[in-house]
C-alpha cells in the first residue's frame, strides 16, 4: 500500500486487483481520487514552503508514532498514555530548565523519568496485564503527577536558553525538529530490520507462542518497547517545550494541535500507516508515512479553509477507513485465525 511496496513489485497493481475484492479496490480508488482532486484544487498546495510545513507538522506526531510502532509491532496493542507521558516529561524538563540546570542535565533527567514511566507500564504489561487498561490507569497517574508537580500552572523559563537550537533552530533551511524526525525514522527502521532486537519484536508480535518456545518472552520485550515509546514521547515534549519556552500539563490535550487528542492522533497515525494492530506486521517507515499523509490531508483542508470539526472528522474517517480496508484485505488473503 505504500510507495515502497509499489516500487519493489512491478506487478503490484495487477496483483492487488487479483487478490482483493472489488469492494476494497473501489474504496482505495475513491480515496485516492479524493486526495488527488483535493491537492489539485487547494491554493498554494504544491509549493516548497508548504511541503516543508507539512513535514514539520508531521514531525511531532511522527516521532511519537515511531515509538508507539514498536509497541504495536510486538503485539502489545498500543499505549493510551502517550499524551500523559509527554505531559509529565514536559513539566519535568521545564522545571529543570527553570531551576537553571542547563539543557544536557534537564534532558537526561527528563529521559530518566520517561524510562521509569515506560518501565513501570512495561512491567505490568509483561506480567500479563492488558495494555489498554494498564496504560489507561498509568495515564491518570502520570497526568496527576504532572499537575501536582507543576501545581497545574504554566512553568516557563527565560530565553536565551540552551535548548533553543532544538525548538526553533534550523540547519540548511530545514527546522532541526524535522531533521530529528528523519534521523529517528531512519534509525528506527534500521533497528527493526538489521538488529536481532528488531527481529525479536516481529517474532513476538507475529507469534507469541513461537517466541516463547525460542526463548524470547514477552516480559522483557514489553518493558523494552514501552521504554522506547515513552522516551519518544518525552523527546517530543522536550522539543515542544524548547520551542515555546514553557510547559503546562494541558499542552498535549485537546486544545493543542489541530485535530484533538494527541494520544489518539498518534494511534491514528500508526493505523493509517497500515501496521497490523495485532502485531508482527508493519514497520516504522509506514508510521512515518502515515504521519506525513495525515499531515498532508490536514494541510489541504486548512488551505481550503475548513474548521476544526470537518478536519477531525476527516482524520476519524481515515482511521475507520484504513481499519476496514486492512481488515478486509487480511480476511481475503489469509486463513482465518
Amino acid at each position: 500500500m505504500t510507495s515502497a511496496t509499489t516500487t519493489s513489485n512491478p506487478n503490484f497493481v495487477q496483483r492487488f486487483a487479483r487478490d482483493h475484492s472489488p469492494l476494497v479496490i473501489a474504496l482505495v480508488l475513491i480515496f485516492m481520487a479524493v486526495c488527488i482532486i483535493g491537492a489539485a484544487t487547494a491554493p498554494n498546495f504544491l509549493t516548497v514552503f508548504n511541503f516543508k510545513t507539512i513535514i514539520r507538522d508531521a514531525a511531532i506526531v511522527g516521532i511519537m508514532a515511531i515509538g508507539l510502532t514498536f509497541v504495536t509491532l510486538s503485539g502489545n496493542f498500543f499505549l493510551l498514555s502517550m499524551k500523559e507521558t509527554a505531559a509529565l516529561a514536559i513539566i519535568a524538563f521545564a522545571t529543570c530548565m527553570a531551576a537553571g540546570l542547563g539543557f544536557p542535565m534537564s534532558f537526561l533527567i527528563t529521559m530518566a523519568i520517561a524510562t521509569v514511566a515506560g518501565a513501570v507500564q512495561g512491567l505490568l504489561i509483561g506480567l500479563g496485564g492488558n495494555p489498554i487498561v494498564v496504560t489507561l490507569g498509568a495515564a491518570g497517574l502520570f497526568f496527576g503527577i504532572g499537575s501536582w508537580w507543576s501545581d497545574n500552572l504554566v512553568v516557563s523559563f527565560r530565553r536565551p536558553h540552551g535548548a533553543e537550537w532544538l525548538g526553533t533552530g534550523s540547519t540548511f533551511g530545514l527546522p532541526n525538529i524535522t531533521i530529528a524526525f528523519v534521523i529517528i525514522a531512519i534509525v528506527a527502521e534500521l533497528v527493526l530490520r538489521k538488529t536481532s532486537f528488531g527481529r525479536q519484536v516481529y517474532l513476538i508480535g507475529a507469534n507469541r507462542a513461537a517466541g516463547r518456545a525460542t526463548g524470547h518472552e514477552n516480559f522483557a520485550m514489553a518493558i523494552k518497547v514501552c521504554i522506547i515509546a515513552s522516551v519518544c514521547s518525552a523527546f517530543v515534549a522536550v522539543a515542544f517545550s524548547a520551542q515555546v519556552s514553557s510547559a503546562h500539563v494541558n499542552y498535549f490535550s485537546s486544545e493543542f494541535g489541530s485535530s484533538g487528542d494527541m494520544t489518539i492522533m498518534v494511534i491514528a497515525t500508526v493505523m493509517v500507516g497500515g501496521n497490523s494492530i495485532m502485531g508482527g506486521y508493519g514497520s516504522t517507515l509506514r508510521s512515518s508515512l502515515g504521519a506525513v499523509f495525515i499531515s498532508t490531508v490536514d494541510n489541504m483542508m486548512v488551505l481550503h479553509g475548513f474548521n476544526s470539526g470537518p478536519r477531525v472528522l476527516a482524520v476519524g474517517l481515515m482511521i475507520v477507513f484504513s481499519i476496514m480496508v486492512f481488515a478486509l484485505v487480511r480476511r481475503g488473503s489469509r486463513a482465518e485465525e
Binding site: G140, L141, M278, I319, R331
Partner: protein
C-alpha cells in the same frame, strides 16, 4: 454465618468490591463530618446517574471480552444533540433523538466488529475520533448552551429523599439490564462470547447478535449519560467528557470484571460505580483539586489490575505444580504396576 461464608467463597470478587466500597465510605465518613448525611446521599446518587451508566456500559463490553473506547465521544455527541435541540423541540424529544442516534452508532459499531472480525479496541479508537468530529460538526465548534436554563430542572428534582428522576431512571435501567443478562438467552450469549469465544462460536452462537446487542446497550448508556450531563448543566462541549472512560473502567474493574471476559455482572458494576462515587465526592469534600482525583483513580485502577494479574499468575503456577504432581504420581503408579506384573 455459614451462609455468609459460603456466599463469600462463591463470590470473592463481589465480596471484595463491597469491602472496598465500605472502606472508602467509612474513611470519608470518619474524616469528614458532613460526608455521612442525607444531602451527600442525594449528591452521590446524582453522580451515580451518570457514572453508573458508563460503568454499566463498560462492564457489559468487558464481559463480552471487548472494550468500548469511544464511550466518551458518544456521550459528548449525545450531550451536544440534546442541548442543541432542546430549545426548538423541547427536552423529551431532543433526548429521544440523542438516544436513538447513540444507540444506532453503537449497533453499527457492534455490527462492524463482528463482520470484520476485528478487536473492538481497534475500531473504537477510530470511532472515538470520528464521533468527536461529528460532535464538533453538530456543535459548530462552539460550546452549545440552553437559552432557558429552567427547562431541564425537572430531572434534578428531589424525590423519595435520595433520588431524582434521572437517578431513578438509571436504577430502572440497571434492573432491566440485570434481568436481561441473567435470565434471557441473549444475555447468556454475551457471557459465552466473552468467556470462551471459540467454543461459543463452535457451539453455534452467532458472533453478530451478542456483539450488536452489547454495543447497542453501551451506546444507549453512553448517550443517556451524556444527555443527562448536558441537560443538567445546560451546556455541552464537543471535546468534553473524556474523563468518563477512566472512571467507568475503574468502576467496572472494582465491580469484578476480568479483562479476559465472561466474568462480572450488573451488581458489581453498581457497587464499583458507588465506590468511585464515594471517592470522588469524598475528595471534593476534602477540597482536593480535580487533577488529584485522576491521580487517585489511576492508582486505584493499577492496584486492581495488579491484584487481578497477580492472582492469575499465582493460579497458573499452582495449576502447573498440580499437573506436575499429578504426572509424578501417575508415573509412580505405572512403575509400581509394571513391577508387580513383571514379578507376578
Amino acid at each position: 454465618m455459614t451462609k455468609l461464608k459460603n456466599w463469600i467463597v462463591s463470590n470473592p470478587d463481589l465480596a471484595f468490591a463491597i469491602l472496598l466500597s465500605g472502606c472508602v465510605y467509612g474513611y470519608f465518613a470518619m474524616t469528614n463530618e458532613f460526608f455521612a448525611t442525607h444531602r451527600t446521599g442525594f449528591a452521590i446518587m446524582e453522580r451515580f446517574a451518570v457514572l453508573g451508566l458508563v460503568g454499566l456500559a463498560l462492564t457489559l463490553c468487558i464481559i463480552a471480552g471487548e472494550i468500548d473506547l469511544s464511550i466518551g465521544s458518544n456521550a459528548a455527541l449525545a450531550a451536544v444533540i440534546t442541548v442543541r435541540f432542546t430549545d426548538s423541540l423541547g427536552a423529551p424529544t431532543s433526548l429521544m433523538i440523542a438516544l436513538i442516534v447513540s444507540t444506532t452508532i453503537g449497533m453499527i459499531q457492534g455490527y462492524f466488529i463482528a463482520y470484520l472480525r476485528i478487536r473492538a479496541i481497534v475500531l473504537t479508537v477510530g470511532t472515538l475520533m470520528l464521533l468527536r468530529g461529528v460532535a464538533l460538526f453538530a456543535a459548530e465548534e462552539k460550546t452549545v448552551m440552553l437559552t432557558d436554563f429552567r427547562v431541564p430542572d425537572f430531572i434534578s428534582t428531589k424525590m423519595l429523599g435520595y433520588f431524582s428522576p434521572a437517578s431513578l431512571l438509571v436504577i430502572a435501567m440497571f434492573i432491566l439490564v440485570a434481568l436481561f443478562m441473567n435470565f434471557t438467552k441473549y444475555g447468556r450469549e454475551i457471557y459465552a462470547i466473552g468467556g470462551a469465544r471459540k467454543e461459543a462460536v463452535a457451539a453455534g452462537v452467532s458472533l453478530k447478535r451478542p456483539m450488536i446487542i452489547v454495543f447497542a446497550i453501551s451506546g444507549l448508556c453512553a448517550g443517556l449519560g451524556g444527555a443527562i450531563i448536558g441537560l443538567r448543566s445546560g451546556t455541552a462541549q464537543a471535546l468534553g467528557l473524556q474523563y468518563v472512560l477512566l472512571a467507568g473502567t475503574v468502576a467496572a474493574f472494582i465491580g469484578g470484571v476480568s479483562i479476559l471476559g465472561g466474568k462480572g455482572g450488573v451488581i458489581g458494576a453498581a457497587i464499583g460505580t458507588l465506590t468511585v462515587n464515594f471517592l470522588n465526592t469524598g475528595l471534593v469534600f476534602n477540597v482536593t483539586p480535580a487533577f488529584m482525583v485522576q491521580l487517585y483513580l489511576g492508582i486505584l485502577l493499577i492496584v486492581v489490575i495488579m491484584f487481578q494479574t497477580g492472582s492469575r499468575v499465582f493460579d497458573d503456577s499452582q495449576r502447573r505444580k498440580q499437573i506436575l504432581a499429578d504426572t509424578d504420581r501417575m508415573a509412580k503408579l505405572l512403575t509400581a504396576r509394571r513391577q508387580r506384573i513383571r514379578s507376578g
